[in-house]
Structure formats: structure tokens, C-alpha cells
Amino acid sequence: MLRQNNKRLLYLLIWVAIGGLCIREVPPLIHLQSAKTALARRELSRADALLRRCQNSWLCGHESHLLSVRSAALAGEWQKAEALLRKTTQTGKRTQLEDALLMFRSGDTSRAETWLIASEDLLGDTQVVDLLEALIDGAVRDRDPELAQSCLGLWTQMTGIEPDSGDGNAAARSKLAAWQGDLTWSMADVAIEFFRRAVELEPRNESAELKLAILLIEYDCAEARRRLRVLAQKSPDLGVIRLQLAGCERELGNFEVASQLLDVLLKQNPADVPVLLERGQLSLDESKLDEAEEWLRKAEKQEPGNRAVLRSLARCLQLAGRVEEAAGYRRKATP
């Protein structure tokens, strides 16, 4: 009787353990899959939210951590991506790959060839595609259109997706359109069309929508602001969106709103140069010259060679009647 009771208890424990394991590990596995899909279509806010839910999983915690690195890199948050990568406890091929993807995406494509040659033997097709995507992103960032085009050629071969073709999944075609936008960035009018197409094909491609909004600031600030606000709601922590939104509000003459947005950012990181610069320019537009100089000096302290900062300082000093100092800064700002 006792033995039978023990056996029953054992069964119960096994079932409870199985149940517990299911409760703990099945959702992260499902979230991880969804996060991969979200990352593939560059829906970064959703990917981040899903990855956060996987991080304590025994089965997929490491993978989710690595994908968080990728997500941060795709959002252009390089410091965060590197910090996350440094926290990785495990080593191995998968970590090395993520390290390479981060390196390429940040614009360091010097080892591209080595990796591409090795990838034939070491990586599966999906990972090669990941590698190519990181290389295209990095080449665009590094202003190396030749490398970007050749990687794009390999990518289209592997995915079978051609420009101007209606075939293939929408997310991949959206990415392709966004890269075409990246490659024509200096021709803003043309790039806007590509990014618009990217967003039409995959409305969840937040990376493309952010770039579209940035370009639109020059053309139609009201539309840019609408898009940036939606993005800001989705990714509350992404500083770059707030910064662009602040720029947009300044463009529209809403100086108070711009100032509040920038103050929040500066509270988070008082040494952020683009934010300090924008804050300085805002003060300049408001004709608050002392305040503008203070912000711009802080930016200059962080990055003494930043030409945009030097130009704004020159403008500020000129307006303050400090003509000679202004001339010195203008000279420094001239390439």
C-alpha cells in the first residue's frame, strides 16, 4: 500500500516537474522564435520585448542574449550592444558569429572577406544570410557602396529576391528596399521613395520607418513627427527616436516641446554629444546665447573635433559679438 502510494507520489512529482518545465521553458522558446521573426523584419521594439522574456530561460537564455546584442546593433545602439556582448558568459561559434555581426554592422568591415570565405564551411545558409545583412548594413554605414553592392548581390542570390520583383516575402523585400534607400541616402528625394516602399511592404519595419522619418524632417516635418511619435510609443527607450523627434519639434518652431524631450535624454546621459548639440542649436534658435554656448561647450569637451559642434559654436560666438573667437572656430570647422 505504502509502495503504491509512493509510486503515485512519484508519478505526481514527475508530472508536476514536466508541467513546471513546460510553464518555464515553452513560452521562452515560443518567444524566441517570434523574436527571430520580428528581428528578421526589423520590428525592433517587439523583438526586444520578446527577448526580455527569454533571458532567464535555461534552454534559450544564451541565444536570446545574443539576439539582444543584434537588436541593439540594428537600432544603432553600439555601446549597449557591446556591453551586452561582454556580459556573455559562454563562448563558441555562435558567440563569435554575433561578435562578427556586431563588428560588421558597426562599420568595421575589414575582415569581411575572411568571414565570407570561412562561412561556406562553417555556417548554415541562415547564418550566411545574417552575415551578409550585417555586412550590407556596415558597408552602408562605412560609406562603402562597392562592398554594399557586392554583398547585396550575394544576398539576392541566396534569398532569390530581386529588386523590382514582386516575388519573395514582404519582409525580405522591405529590407531590400531599405538598403536601396541607404545607398541613395545622399539623394534624399530618391531615398525617401525607397524607404516609403520598404514601409509599405512591411509596415513593421521600424528601422526603415525611422530612416524615412529622419529624411522627411527636411521635406515634411509634420509627417516625420507623426511617424516618430508612433515609433517612440513602440520603443520608449530608444534615444535616437527622441532626439529626432526633438529636432522635428525644433524645426516646427515648438521649442518648448523640443526642450522637454532633450532634457529627458540629457538626464539619462549628460554627455551625449548629438543631444548636447541639438540642445545648443535649440538655444541658439531661441536666441539664448549664453545657454547655447554652455551646451555647445559641453559637447565640444566630449568631442573636440566634431565639426557640427564647432560650426554651431562659431555661429553662437558670432551672434554674441565675439567675432575673433568665432572666426577661430569657423577655421577649425573647415575641412
Binding site: V16, V26, R53, D189, C221, A222, G321, R330
Partner: protein, 598 residues
């Protein structure tokens, strides 16, 4: 019983696990609202009905005016030359001295075979004002029916100081000066010195050397000919053909002519701009309040110039240090039209520039000691966005409320633009005070039907065509009719005005003079700047009209004539034009007298 237990327990565990998994997989709660911490109240004042118009202020009266003329650019030849992108202008002048402003519209040109020899001109038109917005074509009668230059701009000036307004035309093969011999025009001979055949665009005239003579600044554009005519694909494509951007061509130095009374001599070599420029627009006025005429030049795809007059023929190009060369990002713009005005009651000359697509128009506020401050966003002009390719423009107080409003016309220069429309709407901006700052509110949609029609606007001239004290407009379009817009604001607004016609000693040029009108209340002082050039390829009414708002008296007028002398007049009756002559203490009613050019 045991059997049932053995089945029920795992089922229960699985159901509970499943529910737990589903709970885990529930969608995210709504992200915290990032912007909740930031006040998102927009300055709704922009939509405040008090800033909007109660009824249309400009009416297109062209069809009943007898004016039927269009600027031709030769695009039908399908050569896609940059020459066809510039368009034409309007010069307003009282050529016959009857006290009504007439106008000249440039004709442009066309192409035969693809050689420079086959670039031809189209004659412009001189229209005589018959009153009540009726005009008569007097081109042939007045000797202006010549078509030997592909033309762009027209400047009215009195180069020989005989009191009769002369006409300077600009175009692909240089400039042509026509002397006005009491209503009939005679082409100046080569002895005038104006023989330089480089491509010229806008021009302005003033006594730049301080010797009482009419000196000239002529903008010159780029070094283009059919021998230097690259094939440029459609924007963003590797095929097709479109008009090439100015970046494909070298800049041509502009001209600074000194007039010795019989001929003009180019002194360009004596002034050294910081950078080269592809000049399209120019205005001469006193920008630094020293009594001397200075020169501001709007350059396409290159930094703008400001030549401050240092006297005795010395000019210092200092646009960069004065803050008027580039935009707020330190980038140069594609600048076309330009004007000068006191939009903020500061008494100082601020500069307004229309720019290319993806750039904002530039409002450079004159701060006095520190040069100029970029004021575009701070004046609400960022709301315009970068979809306009702006050309002819003017500060114009269309409702005579004493605030300088703005008008500008737009239209693309390439056939297949990507980021903006080929045909674009004109824009009327009303100057209003919002929370202590002068803002420009876009009132185009209610300004009149013409403002809803997209076109390729180019030259624009401001003129009071019926001498009622309310500024009208004349606009040149590329390959579309010239438009005459009658100001109807007087029907809905009961504001007063004061019109001033200045006359220098011996008809000397007056650009560079500054006029200040003190209003009755003793508080507000209105300032206007006598200028030459401005807008784009055009020249406007030489008279100054001060909108006075509800003030029905002015207590005094002060004129600082160019090169320094101050002269004061006491109270004058409002709602009429007065003639103020240099050295004459008495103001004379100007109704019916010839409108002098300077």
C-alpha cells in the same frame, strides 16, 4: 477509481501548465507612453482664426487686363538644357511718366539645332498701364520688339539720370541696356562697356562708389554651352534624361560695374568673395546701417555672399562671418530669390531667401552688432517643409497692418522630380505675433484661387498698379501666362497707409537709403529700406508703401539718403502718396506725377 486518478492528475497538470503557458504568452502590456512626460500641446495659435484670412486678398485679373503673354524656355526641343530651368522676370516701371506703373516681361528663347549658334531669343513685352487694370501691348511702338538674346531678367534703373527709367535685360549672352528716350527705348551701344557675353541672371543698381552714378551688380550663373552639356539621367536612375543640376557646371564670376557717366567698367577682380558662387538673385540695400549700399547675393548650390561697402570702392565679402552664407546646419543652399525687410520692428534690415527643395527658405534676422541669426524655425517657417523650389519673392504688407508679410512663387527646375512636385503652389505668409515672437503663418489656402493653382512660378514683382496704396503682384511663369494679381484686402480691412516716392538730387540712385516713419502714438516706428534688385530676375515698384494699421496719422518721417545725410519731414496726411525730394524740406503730393526710378 485509481485508474481515474491516474488519468486525471496528468490531465490536470497539463491543463494547468497549458493555461500557465498561455498566461506567459499573453501579449505585452501597452508600452509606457514615452511622451507622457512631455507636454505635447502644439501652438494651436497657428490655426487660430485670428491669424487666418476672412476673405481672398488677391484676385487674378489677367484675363480682363489685356495681358496675354508667356515666357518661353524652349523645352519643346527636348534638349534638357539647364538654360531652360531659370525662367523669366518682370520689371515694373513708369516708362511714359504718366504716373501709372507699366511693366516689362522678358520673353526667354528657344532652340534650333543642338548648337550654340541656334540658341535664339523671344521678344519680351512692354505693357502700358491704361488704368483700372487694363494694359496695352506697346512693345513694338517703344522699340523693344527685339529678340536677339535668350533672356531671363529685367531691371529698371535710371542709368543716365535723366528722370526716364531705363531697362537692363539679362540673359544667356550677357546683358542689354536700353535707354529710355522719353518713352521710346534705344539699345545702348557697345561703348557702354556692357559687352561681356557670359550668362547673366539678376541685376541690381546703386551708387556703390558714392559718386552719384548708377553702378551695377550683375549676377552670372554657370559655364554652360552645348559643348559643355553632359547627359544627366533622371533623378535616382541610370537611364532617361533630365535637366542637369548646377553642380555639373563651373561657376562664372559675377560682375561689379562702375559707371563713369558714359561707360561701365567691371571691377569684379577687386573684390574677393570667400567662395565662388552661381549667382541667381541680388538685392542692394544698407544691411549694416552705416548709410552705404551693400550687396547681398543668393547663389545656387554655393554659399551666399554679402558684400559690405567700406567706401571708396572697397567691398568686404563677409557672409559667412555675418551668418548669412549658409543655413543653420552650416550647409549652403540652392538659393534663388531674395528680399530685405524689417519684419520684427527692430528697425534693422533682415534678409529673406527662397531655396531649393529639401531646404527651408532662409530668414536671417539682423541682430545689429552680431550680424544675422538664422530665424527660420523660430518664425514658424519650418512648417513649410522642403517641398518648394522657391523663386520670386517679396516682403509685402498685403493688408497694410504695418507688418511685413511674405509671398513667394515656386516650381521645379527638372522635368522628373522625385521629392517634390513639378508644378508647385505659390505661398502667402502672414506676419503675426505669437507669444511675443513674430511668426509667419501660411494663409495661402484662403488668399485667393490663384494660390491654389500649381505652376512653375519664377519672376515676381510687387507694384501698386492702381495707386490705391495696396500692393498688387505680377508673376512670370515658365511656359504659362504672366499673371496679374489685384489686391482686394482693401475691401475687407480698414487700415491706413502712407506712400512715399523718393527723389535724389540730380536723379541719383537711392538704393541704400533707409526710411523711418514715426506713428502717431509715439511708440511704433516703421522702417523700410530703399533697394534695387530683390525677388528673382525682377524689379518692383520703386515707391515705398507703409501700412499703418489703424493709425491715421504719422508724426514724422526721416530719410537717411545713401552715403549718410539725414532729412526729416513732419506730419503728413495718410492714405496718399507723397514725393520727398532730397534737399527739399517740403513734401509734395505725388498723385499723377511720374514715378521715378532710382
Amino acid at each position: 477509481m485509481r485508474m481515474r486518478q491516474q488519468v486525471l492528475i496528468p490531465v490536470a497538470v497539463i491543463v494547468v501548465s497549458g493555461l500557465a503557458v498561455l498566461w506567459q504568452l499573453r501579449p505585452d502590456a501597452q508600452s509606457p507612453a514615452i511622451l507622457s512626460e512631455v507636454s505635447l500641446r502644439q501652438p494651436e495659435d497657428q490655426n487660430d482664426t485670428s491669424t487666418q484670412l476672412s476673405q481672398a486678398v488677391f484676385s487674378d485679373v489677367t484675363s480682363a487686363s489685356g495681358v496675354d503673354f508667356r515666357y518661353r524656355n524652349g523645352e519643346q526641343a527636348e534638349y534638357f538644357t539647364i538654360l531652360e530651368s531659370l525662367g523669366g522676370g518682370i520689371a515694373v516701371l513708369d516708362y511714359d511718366g504718366d504716373g501709372l506703373l507699366d511693366f516689362f516681361a522678358t520673353g526667354g528663347g528657344g532652340f534650333g539645332e543642338r548648337t550654340d549658334a541656334e540658341i535664339s531669343g523671344c521678344a519680351g513685352r512692354l505693357y502700358r498701364n491704361q488704368g483700372d487694370f487694363r494694359f496695352q501691348d506697346v512693345t513694338a511702338d517703344c522699340g523693344l520688339d527685339t529678340a536677339d538674346m535668350y533672356s531671363h531678367g529685367a531691371l529698371c534703373l535710371d542709368a543716365d539720370a535723366d528722370g526716364w527709367p531705363d531697362l537692363l535685360l539679362t540673359g544667356y549672352t550677357g546683358v542689354q541696356l536700353y535707354w529710355n528716350r522719353q518713352g521710346h527705348f534705344e539699345r545702348a551701344s557697345e561703348d557702354s562697356g556692357l559687352t561681356d557675353s557670359r550668362w547673366s541672371t539678376s541685376a541690381a543698381a546703386a551708387d556703390l562708389w558714392g559718386q552719384g552714378k548708377t553702378d551695377l551688380f550683375v549676377c552670372r550663373y554657370v559655364d554652360w554651352s552645348f559643348l559643355k552639356d553632359p547627359v544627366c539621367p533622371e533623378r535616382g536612375k541610370s537611364e532617361g534624361r533630365d535637366v542637369c543640376a548646377p553642380q555639373n557646371f563651373l561657376a562664372v564670376p559675377s560682375s561689379l560695374y562702375r559707371f563713369d557717366g558714359s561707360s561701365f567698367l567691371d571691377h569684379w577682380e577687386t573684390i574677393q568673395p570667400v567662395s565662388e558662387g552661381k549667382a541667381l538673385g541680388v538685392v542692394i540695400a544698407d544691411f549694416n546701417d552705416d548709410g552705404r549700399p551693400d550687396i547681398y547675393v543668393a547663389n545656387d548650390a554655393s554659399a551666399n555672399w554679402l558684400f559690405l561697402n567700406e567706401g571708396q570702392g572697397g567691398f568686404r565679402e563677409c557672409a559667412l562671418e555675418q551668418g548669412v552664407a549658409v543655413d543653420d546646419n552650416g550647409d549652403y543652399n540652392g538659393s534663388m530669390g531674395v528680399d530685405v525687410g524689417d519684419f520684427d520692428d527692430s528697425g534693422k534690415a533682415s534678409i529673406w531667401v527662397t531655396n531649393f527643395e529639401s531646404e527651408l527658405p532662409a530668414l536671417y534676422r539682423n541682430t545689429g552688432s552680431g550680424g544675422f541669426a538664422w530665424q527660420t524655425q523660430a518664425s514658424g517657417l519650418g512648417r513649410l517643409g522642403g517641398r518648394n523650389v522657391g523663386f520670386g519673392t517679396a516682403f509685402v504688407d498685403f493688408d497694410n497692418d504695418g507688418r511685413q508679410d511674405l509671398v513667394f512663387v515656386n516650381g521645379h527646375v527638372v522635368r522628373y522630380p522625385r521629392g517634390a512636385e513639378f508644378l508647385q503652389r505659390p505661398v502667402l505668409l502672414r506676419n503675426v505675433e505669437i507669444r511675443g515672437r513674430q511668426n509667419f503663418v501660411n494663409v495661402s489656402s484662403a488668399a485667393g484661387e490663384w494660390f491654389l493653382q500649381p505652376s512653375r512660378g519664377r519672376g515676381l514683382a510687387k507694384a501698386d498698379l492702381n495707386n490705391d496704396g495696396w500692393p498688387d503682384l505680377i508673376v512670370s511663369h515658365t511656359e504659362a501666362p504672366v499673371t496679374i494679381l489685384r489686391n482686394l484686402a482693401t475691401d475687407s480691412v480698414r487700415n491706413h497707409w502712407l506712400g512715399l516716392q523718393l527723389e535724389g538730387q540730380n536723379n541719383r540712385p537711392l538704393a541704400g537709403a533707409t526710411v523711418r516713419v514715426q506713428l502717431q502714438d509715439g511708440e511704433r516706428q516703421l522702417t523700410q529700406f530703399v533697394k534695387s534688385g530683390g525677388s528673382y530676375l525682377s524689379s518692383s515698384d520703386p515707391r515705398l508703401v507703409f501700412g499703418l494699421g489703424e493709425a491715421d496719422q504719422v508724426v514724422g518721417i526721416t530719410v537717411r539718403w545713401p552715403w549718410g545725410e539725414l532729412q526729416h519731414w513732419d506730419a503728413l496726411d495718410v492714405d496718399q502718396y507723397w514725393l520727398l525730394s532730397e534737399g527739399n524740406a517740403e513734401a509734395v503730393p505725388a498723385a499723377g506725377t511720374a514715378i521715378r526710378q532710382f
